[in-house]
């Protein structure tokens, strides 16, 4: 799926550029795209280095285990395949709580750590397990309590009440998170059904 989408995006891009006479822009895009990717990753280095360090202390000190034990009843339902006191659970919870407080920068390293642990649980295969897809779905839906970036943009444009969209955002993000979990369940059910005739 991802292979097809990627190739289709590039090829249709080139075809449209030929038709629209935008070859020059597209040539430029080839380089700016790659450059932006590297810029993003360089920006991530500092955050990843710091948070992976902090998370290692949390893991060794037992904070992750405490966290996963506390919220185990909820997460066990969402991630039925992950053992209750596995470090992956702690990382998943840290990732979710950082997301909730709008700390996307802190959430990414924790999410990546969680993915790593889930991959170990999956025997190191290069195909995503059910739990990995669930975690990804949770992150794309991004359950946020406070959308800081949007509020600051609204402030810049002199909104009478920049934070008035917090409520609507909360409801929308809750809907998309619940839907993400339901859709994830459905696809899992479909995969299981395909393999057991």
């Amino acid at each position: 799926m991802i292979n097809v989408i990627w190739a289709v995006m590039l090829i249709t891009g080139f075809v449209f550029a030929a038709v629209n006479g935008r070859m020059e822009e597209v040539n430029e895009a080839l380089f700016t795209g790659a450059e932006e990717a590297v810029t993003i990753c360089i920006g991530l280095i500092g955050i990843l280095v710091f948070w992976l360090g902090v998370m290692r202390i949390a893991e060794k000190g037992g904070v992750l285990r405490m966290l996963s034990r506390m919220l185990a009843p909820v997460t066990a339902k969402i991630f039925p395949e992950v053992p209750k006191e596995h470090p992956a659970m702690g990382y998943i919870l840290s990732n979710m709580s950082a997301n909730m407080f709008g700390l996307g920068n802190a959430a990414t390293p924790m999410g990546i750590k969680a993915m790593e642990e889930l991959k170990h649980l999956n025997g190191g295969r290069d195909e995503p397990s059910r739990s990995m897809i669930t975690l990804l779905a949770l992150n794309t839906a991004s359950l946020t309590l406070i959308p800081t970036t949007v509020i600051s943009i609204r402030m810049n444009y002199n909104s009478a009440n920049p934070a008035e969209i917090v409520g609507t955002t909360l409801v929308a993000t809750f809907c998309s998170t619940v839907m993400a979990l339901l859709i994830d369940r459905y696809f899992h059910w479909r995969r299981v059904r395909k393999h057991t005739p």
Binding site: W6, A29, G33, L44, E116, T140, I153, A160
Partner: protein
């Protein structure tokens, strides 16, 4: 909603303090452990580059060629049926694909229609309520070397569609219809 801001601000310092106190109780050498874990960070960031570079180039080419505009124009009538206003369609389509692109569109919509207009509020809600699916997928799976996305992309994109529809419905209910 002031408390949310306060919690956001205190969350990380309190979290780090708790982690350090617990480490001290368990006699874990905090600094050495930190450095040990931090070493992974650099390698991890670098390992994402190939995935992200491939994705970003495709997105930039798709946008620069004008294909994105055509896609938006052709989908407009369909989305209008569901009640999504035409002005918001580019943002709805851009949101799962490109974070910076969507942020640009959101600022543009807010600047054009005003932050307190229906479109402004809808754009704000949409921008805040979901994350860039393609980016999250690329970074999270890329970092651990997952090359096949499985059903993850479908799940993410379908959830985005639900989020967008939810945003339209909620904003209409709370702030009144588009006019």
């Amino acid at each position: 909603m002031g408390w949310v801001t306060v919690v956001s601000m205190w969350f990380l310092p309190v979290l780090i303090t708790l982690i350090l106190l617990q480490a001290a109780r368990r006699r874990v050498p905090a600094y050495e452990t930190f450095v040990d874990g931090a070493k992974e960070g650099f390698h991890l960031a670098v390992s994402i580059i190939p995935f992200l570079a491939g994705m970003m180039v495709a997105i930039h080419v798709f946008r620069a060629s004008g294909a994105m505009e055509v896609l938006i124009q052709s989908l407009e009538p369909v989305l209008a049926l569901v009640g999504i206003p035409a002005e918001i369609v580019p943002l709805a389509l851009m949101r799962p694909i490109s974070g910076t692109g969507a942020l640009g569109l959101t600022s543009d919509l807010i600047a054009t229609y005003g932050p307190d207009s229906f479109i402004g509020r809808l754009a704000s809600t949409m921008q805040g309520s979901t994350d860039t699916t393609l980016y999250v997928l690329t970074v999270y799976f890329g970092a651990v070397g997952i090359k096949k996305a499985g059903d993850a992309l479908k799940v993410g994109l379908l959830a985005d569609v639900c989020g967008i529809i939810a945003a339209v419905v909620v904003v209409t209910l709370v702030f009144g219809a588009a006019m």
